[in-house]
Symmetry: C2
Subunit: 479 residues, 2 copies
Amino acid sequence: MSNTNPARGMRDFLPEQVRKREYVIGIIKEVYEKYGFEPLETPAVENLSTLTNKYGEEGDQLMFKILERGEKLRRKLEGGGVKSENDLSDLALRYDLTVPLARVVANYKNELPRFFKRYQIQPVWRADRPARGRYREFYQCDVDAIGSRSMIVEAELCAAVSEILERLGFDDFVILINHREILRGFLEVAGVDEKKHSDTLIALDKFDKIGEQGVSKELVERGVFTEEGGNNFIRQFLELMKLHGDPAYNIPEKKTAEFKKKRTEEENLTVIEKLREFIGKNESGKRGIESVEQILALTRNSPAYGQVKVQPYLARGLSYYTGAIFEIGLDRGDFSGSIAGGGRYDGLIGMFGKEEIPAVGLSLGLERILLIMEERGMFPEEIDKRVAADVLVTVWNEDTAAESLKFAGELRAEGLRVTVYPENDKLGKQFKYADQTGVPFVCVLGDDEIRENTVTLKNMKTGEQESVARDEIAGKIKA
Amino acid sequence: MSNTNPARGMRDFLPEQVRKREYVIGIIKEVYEKYGFEPLETPAVENLSTLTNKYGEEGDQLMFKILERGEKLRRKLEGGGVKSENDLSDLALRYDLTVPLARVVANYKNELPRFFKRYQIQPVWRADRPARGRYREFYQCDVDAIGSRSMIVEAELCAAVSEILERLGFDDFVILINHREILRGFLEVAGVDEKKHSDTLIALDKFDKIGEQGVSKELVERGVFTEEGGNNFIRQFLELMKLHGDPAYNIPEKKTAEFKKKRTEEENLTVIEKLREFIGKNESGKRGIESVEQILALTRNSPAYGQVKVQPYLARGLSYYTGAIFEIGLDRGDFSGSIAGGGRYDGLIGMFGKEEIPAVGLSLGLERILLIMEERGMFPEEIDKRVAADVLVTVWNEDTAAESLKFAGELRAEGLRVTVYPENDKLGKQFKYADQTGVPFVCVLGDDEIRENTVTLKNMKTGEQESVARDEIAGKIKA
């Protein structure tokens, strides 16, 4: 027998799962549309040259490359000169949604609006080692606003994503915010050599995972500090962390949403004040603080109010961020790590052209959100319990089958989802099938019923069975 | 400057195109759901072994194969023993939706219902030579009912697809129907050797393209007939064709829909009668005719009534069909070829297991349908003319930006799609941007307006501008 599993790290989505995915994706789209974002789709396959050298060495290794085809390949293989992968491949599978966006922005310059606000929800592929929650095909769900340096864009992104998470039922999400200029200011004040800024941030970003000593050790290894200098620096860093009491994740709280929002706002004020002292006259730092304050002010009357929390040590590994950075976490403590992240990256979208194009983006971790919603039982009943149909119409015998189909059409015209039992089986078997597949109502249309213009309706949950006038059935089921 | 086009034969879908695609896909899903079909999704990437030898030699050649990765590949390349493609590849891109369905049916045997009715709308990839309307990444849109041999399933498929095409606005579609057993009966009556049936059908299927002489020549080349025998056979075949007057495609008609449906029904009766004479006592032929009659009877009170037309010479190339075969064409003459096709194929879905599993399926040519709808101007105005937002809210100055965002939130709460102009530009520039991007309404929130709790509303089509109370704006725009 052949292997019928999906390929390693890939998944089949059976109906129940597709429905849940579409429910979440539907809400995301609806909200982004309300904020004036537009849908974009790009092909799964890109020219290899479009993707290589865009994701670092690791990315190039994890990319799924496509074998050349036909004569071209045959000649290469016969010639025997094939030494590396790139001799054999001309195409590759999409690795993320940002590089395709940059390509699109360059390619359709004259067709796209000056401020291009787009969302894109499509799968990407990475030949990573599969693990729990890590797949080789997974959806990314990106929203980006291209073309403006104004903080209005950051504010709108925070508002939109807050509205999405609220509508999905998350009551404990926090949008952590920091700014690259704040970090730069901090590193300058701490006396870190500019060339070592990026190394330092990578190490700091691991604080939650490897702790004080781990970071200190890594800083020494990366040649940022000698041991003593490192400890000094870490002390300063811990000061910075204390600005916020505890890390923002994992603070369970039994207070009302309003109380929490108010408290977050107050905390932000305190943090910013202390941060300002800390940064002193450093120009970068001051600029960063100002931007963050602006974003907070602009979200004050939006769904993001009280959800945004200033976290001055948030670094985010990716070095392409240039301004505000975001990370969205959950407070309740049952899940660590983030469910979304993003920030301003003014240097990246222009990669295929000559000009720098400002951009802010946010990526929702769709697969993670689905996992958490599943474990927390957050899907509404009509999605969670949805089955193939609202009603099963039975088939009495060959002669009445046409009438059963006609009746099914009548119910469908009333907006019901109807499946017709396809075979001329015994009625008991047809009921059993409805039961097994979870269909809540069964309609029997026998000779008597057809003659009397009635239908026998069975409620599969209560077991109740009654004779109902044919034109009243749909109303009865809908009620 | 780098090449920023999508890869050869692949397409980017800008917002306008995504909206149109989603509109069509949305209707297809909605109708299939109403008929009790459930959504399925499978990964883009399959194990190569799942796909090879399933699509004939041509298919194996047109498949996009994925290069092996890492150590495994390196060792192979260094070893120098690589001679063929399959040494270098372990995975491939999905080539159609039927083989993945067969794999899923085998893999989740115990989880899927006995009658599994699924639809699947996903892209597939083929390294075909790109041409107008032919892409290397394109969507397939399949619906299949697995597990039953009853004609009820065929009837439901015809009804569902009719409802879809009607809702999309096609008023000239025809579901051509024939049956493999009718063809077999015809070939037996005509004295074609059983071993040559498949060759003969392939040649006959080309009748519309290569005509009488072409088919006759091909039949001789394929060794079905000597020249004389071929001509004899063709004569018989032409008799069969005459059963229907003209081919069903390309018959423009100025009659009402009701008249056409009635006429189609009458024509079917005549055709079947003549066909019955033709077939005589041939057992296969009789069985086929009976099935077709059953399907016609079962669709008599469904949206498919009068849309199904018996066409006794319809063959369809694919040899895996075992029962009824369908092809959907358009009458109006502006497009030749079909927009959908399908049939019963009881031998295929069981390919990964031991038992034969009956199945009927229909595949809508989504890309073709989109093309025709575009050329015929069939998209409703709200899709065709849809732009990024219903309203653009301007930004007066830095101090009022927060108020603009707040106001945008108020409009969104009323269900409007709102974009906020992100920069502090001159008002004229903001209006111009609204005009260029087609946003129909602009709201100005200046110092005066904020003080007076009003908004200046400009209708971009009429140029009218008026001052409106802030809480009446949404209602005004919606009207």
